[in-house]
Amino acid sequence: MSDTPPAEPPSSEVTPEKTYLRRRELLKNAGLFAGTAVAVAGGLHLLGRKQTRPMDRFVPDAGRVTFPVVKGPYDTDEPPTSYEDVTTYNNFYEFGFDKNDPARFAHTLKTRPWSVVIDGEVHKPQTVDMEQLSSWFPLEERVYRMRCVEAWSMVIPWLGFPLAALLQRVAPTSHAKYVAFTTLLDSEQMPGQRRGLLDWPYTEALRLDEAQHPLTLMATGLYGRELPNQNGAPLRLVVPWKYGFKGIKSIVRITLTREEPMTTWRLAAPREYGFYANVNPAVSHPRWSQASERRIGDFERRPTLPFNGYAEQVAHLYTGMDLRRFY
């Protein structure tokens, strides 16, 4: 026992109670501040659209076409859009509405076996297996500009064969005026078809002379590889002087008709999407001026060319037509 009081620390080392309490208050507030800031930031980030760059950062080796490829005419010498962008920025509503949905979800599409029905006004209607169909024609590489009605564009090295060659083989009758195309109808493989936003299956059509034009291509590949599902495997249409939505993907039926067929986007919004859909900087879409476009990968816009730069080859198909009326 001692009478001396317990040794106290010097007053300089004692935090005054008020400061001590304020410090705790400050720490608590700092914590709440940080927590709230992070929660708000996280919430807003989640609301923003997800940008995914799945897929390969380079051209994959898998799916490389092993047989010889003929160099096609009409190539553009503009630099091709990257393989990554061509295969991850797609409109294929059967697999979702965001541009990167098709690359994420189109793996559910089974492209083997695949057969194509060719019927209607032809002398030799038939159902042909995809392997057989592609063995009929030598594969050509065609580097084409592609212009979407949403005012973006790409340059894509397609592999394929002219539709004219296929039509010649099935021999159109003298009544044939149009060629209609139909995509697969199977919501198991194409889950987007469960939502009735468009009148499934997707259909598109060309006038017979457009279909027979040497520029019109049936594509089975791109960048020297088989067509990825999101780009319309195993068989799609490429009409480089028309807006991209004419290029119907994953075709199961080709029908030659006497009357002009109805097409999917025209049915959905006739004021916005016409039958012809020729790239035309002078005729605006209600939401997108068509005067200029952004090439994917570019920063600045560029002026859009009539018929997407293929006027010399195709303008004669439309002589005498008012392309404001027949848009």
Binding site: L32, T36, V40, G48, R53, T88, S292, G297
Partner: protein
Amino acid sequence: MASSPYPWLNPALVVGGLSPLVMLAVQGPRGELGPNAIEAALHQTGLLALVLLLASLACTPLRLVAGWTWPARVRRTLGLLAFTYAVAHFLVYAVVDQGLAWGTLWADVTERPFITVGFAALVLLVPLAVTSTNRWVRRLGFPRWQRLHRLAYVAAALGVVHFVWRVKKDVTEPLLYGAVLAVLLALRVGEALRKRRVRAAAAARNPA
């Protein structure tokens, strides 16, 4: 203000609310916004402008429904954040996307209804942002200031219409925001009717 029970709330909202904009500014030039970075930036700034505007319009209904008073203290911050994103959205469109091509911009605003309504919404938000300070509330007098700031309802409605008309086919998402706005406005209308009834009843009890 110093005695506010949640002194961290507004600064936290500013930091958290601006972080997506900072992320866009960082990711855009680094090519991390996907193949069409400008379109991605347009989508995100536009969406966040609408979300934050709806959040600012949710403050009063939250007080009416839940009895909370704290939302009233963040309403101005939310409104100014919404305005910031609306301006960013417009600048991405006018400067980055269109490269300040005045002819095209003019044609867009006058000929394309979806751009017309979006632009109108932005214009309506300008006086609200300018008069957001306490000094302006005093200068205008609260009732007048309050009437002016009801333009936020119109701006939000135009924002929803802008979104609906922009979408090519799937209007689910814009209509969800429209539904939220409708609920928020309905709660306000309900409250206004209730107040009117109370006033009428009071007037009936004490005829002047």
